[in-house]
Symmetry: C2
Subunit: 313 residues, 2 copies
């Protein structure tokens, strides 16, 4: 029987794994639960960067080179915006604006984000379910040596330069999981945590009340794909952030971080396993090509299946 | 002394006259009072078509061939919008979106339209004052054989096909002239009414309480440039609309329509003067080239000056 798979994911890095999973699973068997802690309002537009990266990736519209935004994007809006003195630190492509404008309009009319995203996915024939973690506002806020910054000001405007002291998820305590999130976790045969940034992309999902408990109580094994490769974080600010938070850049640290929900860890073949021991498997976890993504997806599913089979029935 | 000139105008046609005036007057001597009855909210964006046509025209950014929108515009947004099933009957160019998004955001933050437009004009080095007729919502509504339509649904979506029975300006009775509108009229040495559609583009301005009275009481002569050339309306739905409203397509009808505020009429040399007589002058009023626009602007100012000089001091 083909397993029903849930994957918790952020944007660019996680979307690679989800794309790999989408190659080997029937669309109806794959559900992505996506971080919305990066969502923000810019120039009055409601922007959901990680959700949109998933939609672009799964519909074949993603810019392969940069990992975010659309392939073949044009930039007339940004040019005109600059002539008017508008804030230009966040890049909004001309085609990309369609998602933001329609989402903003639909939200103003009272539609929940999950419904809006489902409509987008349907229009673009995206088969897997793309679920925001919540329809309620959650904002990833970073306490830094430059004061408190929201995610996009830290990540995009300041290019991760500020030293991070602490991270909080504003609004998370009052947030509810979006429709279908808890049911998808409960019904899953395998649950994966994508190699996204654990502190910035996965923790916001786990901070929504009910999600971590659902993972811990799920019948399926929960397997994380480590974001560490060769003793370094694969990409982005993960390594710098871990160092600033006083965390060793090791699989032990990753396993420890996820310990409340984790049953297994897929780690890169170049790295030592986590200590204290967590059930693990190794693979080449770098995902440059589509074949890489499929390989990592398969390895993670095999590990999840092994853990499930070893459990007392 | 260079005269201070006020011009009441709609979009495309009127902008040609304003551009002609801008060639022969110092920027600080020219004020355009612009129709906002066409303004509407589309996909959540606050759109002011006539204002924007003035801004594009006076900043040298207008698409010369079509008269609206930007020269060299790109259309990635519309393409993406269509793939998402978004409403695509109103064309929004990629660069054009900068005005709409910034305006919508500024209005949501409480800025009045007049301030927003002044900021845009300053950013683009538009010298003449571009004043919305009002900062309050006014919507031109047409009673047609297809029911009541707002202006853009009549003009753009239905391409003026419905038969018009009546026109009203929703909200006009509660609207106040925007800042500087009444002062500009009071201080003007000449007041022109552009050859815009009298019923759809100029009447909304005259419907804002205080503006018609200010024109009637102004020290300056009020001169309209007739929208009729060779017994036909120059462009757009004017002739069809006049016929549907039971109005003869004559300068007499134009003079009669504006009689409460009008002192003179500049009409095309191909047409007979208005009857009953209004002070008039003739010119070739077709405005294809910039030279045409300057010629018409000069002829209108000459007529206004003649009327002023003939008045008892």
């Amino acid at each position: 029987m083909t397993p029903r798979v849930v994957v918790l994911t952020g944007g660019v890095g996680g979307a690679k794994l989800v794309l790999g999973l989408a190659q080997i699973l029937p669309p109806s068997n794959l559900t992505a639960i996506v971080n919305t802690g990066d969502d923000f309002t810019h120039l009055g537009l409601a922007i959901s960067p990680d959700i949109d990266t998933l939609l672009y990736t799964l519909s074949g519209k993603a810019n392969a080179a940069q990992g975010w935004g659309r392939e073949g994007e044009s930039w007339s809006f940004m040019s005109a915006l600059r002539t008017l003195g508008g804030a230009d630190w966040f890049q909004l492509g001309d085609g990309d604006l369609a998602l933001h404008i329609l989402r903003t309009d639909a939200r103003a009319q009272g539609q929940p984000l999950s419904q809006i995203v489902a409509n987008f996915a349907q229009a673009w024939n995206v088969g897997p379910a793309v679920l925001p973690m919540t329809n309620d506002p959650v904002a990833t806020m970073l306490t830094t040596d430059e004061g408190e910054l929201d995610f996009q000001h830290y990540f995009v405007a300041r290019r991760c330069a500020p030293v991070v002291r602490a991270i909080r998820f504003q609004g998370a305590a009052q947030a509810r999981p979006a429709p279908c999130v808890l049911a998808a976790i409960a019904q899953a045969d395998a649950i994966l945590i994508a190699p996204s940034n654990p502190y910035l992309s996965i923790d916001p999902i786990l901070a929504v009340p009910g999600i971590a408990a659902a993972l811990a109580g799920a019948k399926a094994a929960v397997v994380a794909i480590s974001p560490i490769v060769g003793g370094q974080a694969v990409k982005g600010p993960t390594a710098k952030l871990m160092a600033e938070l006083g965390i060793a850049i090791t699989n032990t640290a990753i396993a420890t971080h996820y310990r409340a929900v984790l049953n297994g860890l897929l780690l890169d073949e170049r790295d030592p396993p986590a200590d204290p021991g967590v059930t693990f498997a190794t693979a080449d976890t770098l995902m440059h090509t589509l074949e890489d993504r499929i390989r990592v997806a398969r390895a993670a599913l095999v590990l999840a299946e092994q853990i499930s089979k070893s459990r007392p029935q």
